[in-house]
Amino acid sequence: MVTDDKKKLAIMLFSGPYGKQDADYMCRIAESALNRGYAVKIFLYGDGVHAQMNGQTPKSFLNIGDYLSELADMGAEIKSCSRCSGARGYVEGEFDEGLDRYPSSKAIDAVKIHTLYSFIDMIKDCDKIMTFGGV
């Protein structure tokens, strides 16, 4: 449970899993932050939204989908960009106010597909921002 007295770390991931290791590094940093008692908020952007794909089964790499689910279980808030997700075929309908997310059977439950405004809310509220996978 995230409480207001924790310092908050916001992380943006720009690149997808497996082609590069940025998602691995991001998850490792997020896990370390959670283990040290910091609140962690992750936003998937651009090709980074592919980290939310359901049913990832890498043979010899870290499973990023499973790792994100574990981070969510540890308390991380994870969202992805709705436009980036829509462009890549993840969005399957209009925004669901009740579920506070765009519907997608292709994305893992741990990730909420949301608008870019939610990233702005994340950075307005955080103590530090880190980015992974930028050029």
Binding site: L9, R28, I29, S32, N35, Y38, M130
Partner: protein, 113 residues
């Protein structure tokens, strides 16, 4: 030195594939020259910065005023042993934890490259 005079830099990319290595080393050195405390953390392919005898794109500061730590597991995964490191670089096991704590508690700015 207070938080406002400290930056920490996480490097995940190798030193020579793109010009980014040169750029981030330049930022580190100039921040140091301006009197800031600079800490560099090397993970992933960034551990290649830690090898001694690099002729260019070095992160080492001649006066040792820049703290540099490298992730032991990533280093060993790339065939780099402790004997291959510049003597000013410290290999650590829990580099993610050390970096996060430094970033959150001691640094005004955090660069990730």
């Amino acid at each position: 030195m207070d938080m406002n005079e400290s930056i920490c830099i996480l490097i995940t990319k190798p030193p020579h594939t793109t010009e980014g290595g040169k750029r981030v080393c330049g930022i580190a050195r100039r921040a140091r020259d301006k009197g800031m405390k600079v800490s560099i953390y090397l993970i992933g392919d960034g551990v290649l910065f830690a090898k001694k005898n690099l002729e260019s794109n070095r992160v080492i500061s001649p006066d040792e005023s820049i703290s540099i730590k490298v992730g032991m597991n990533d280093m060993l995964a790339r065939g780099i042993t402790p004997e291959m490191l510049d003597y000013r670089i410290e290999a650590v096991d829990d580099i993610e934890g050390i970096f996060v704590e430094d970033a959150m508690e001691n640094s005004k700015l955090v660069f990730t490259w």
